[in-house]
């Protein structure tokens, strides 16, 4: 049988071709935050199992969450959660067949990003207020 060379077919334009736009970045960010939450939820399960187990294990987990690195991870987790949730609300709107007006789409993307940052900081202010 004759050697067949793979044909150099043109590829459809992809990420590196398009000018980055906010809506595109928000779409990518929705997937990235979803993936981060996928692994981040281990933190919640860790906390639950530790609380169900014994003092020593629970104190270890609380110690991690009290450490600056643990706090940083939790802060990132909070932002990912809020961002993904707000992104989900946008998707609910689109699922009804509404909200595809380009100006509105752009505005919602901006609100999502700004809202996620503001709400995350607000939650942490509340968190530090609640903590004894």
């Amino acid at each position: 049988m004759a050697e067949t060379k793979p044909v150099e077919r043109p590829l459809s334009p992809h990420l590196q071709i398009y000018r980055p736009m906010l809506t595109m970045m928000m779409s990518i960010l929705h997937r990235i935050t979803g993936s981060a939450l996928y692994f981040g939820i281990i933190l919640l399960v860790w906390w639950l199992t530790a609380a169900a187990w014994n003092e020593a294990y629970f104190n270890l987990v609380q110690g991690f969450f009290g450490h600056w690195f643990g706090r940083l991870v939790l802060f990132g987790f909070t932002w990912a959660l809020i961002h993904h949730t707000l992104g989900g609300l946008r998707h609910f709107l689109w699922d009804t067949g509404r909200g595809f007006n380009l100006q509105l789409v752009e505005r919602l993307a901006q609100l999502n990003l700004a809202g996620s940052i503001i709400l995350t900081i607000l939650l942490w202010v509340i968190g530090y207020g609640v903590m004894p």
Binding site: L37, V45, H91, F92, G127
Partner: protein, 126 residues
């Protein structure tokens, strides 16, 4: 002339053997996630700096235990569907794809089992 049986025709699924369940459950769990996650978040913030005894006491309230348990089920289900799409989008080798899809299921079910067991343990005061 179609050779499909009437049952096959009325199901309308073809060779894919499944239809819109994935899309639909992604939305159902997403809707459920909104109030559930907010409630669980409130529970976690309430317990910042709490001792273990206080956390366990909280989970002895059935409302807290059930809310967090339902959150875990809805969130993990949603996660599994989402990661399935990511794997199907980016992994093209059939063997690796199948392995990752299996891992996705095992990972989410294992986390769910651990969380539910922990919640029940606290609820029953073991």
């Amino acid at each position: 002339m179609s050779l499909a049986t009437p049952l096959k025709k009325v199901r309308g699924l073809g060779t894919a053997k499944s239809g819109t369940e994935h899309f639909w459950m992604q939305r159902v769990t997403a809707i459920a996630n909104v109030p559930l996650v907010l409630a669980t978040l409130a529970c976690v913030i309430y317990h910042l700096g709490s001792s273990r005894v206080e956390v366990v006491a909280s989970f002895q309230n059935p409302l807290v235990a059930l809310t967090v348990a339902l959150t875990m089920i809805s969130v993990l289900w949603h996660m599994r569907l989402g990661m399935q799409v990511i794997i199907e989008d980016y992994v093209h080798g059939p063997a690796l794809k199948l392995m990752l899809l299996l891992l996705n299921t095992f990972y989410t079910v294992a986390l769910g089992a651990a969380a539910i067991y922990a919640i029940l343990r606290m609820n029953f005061g073991l």
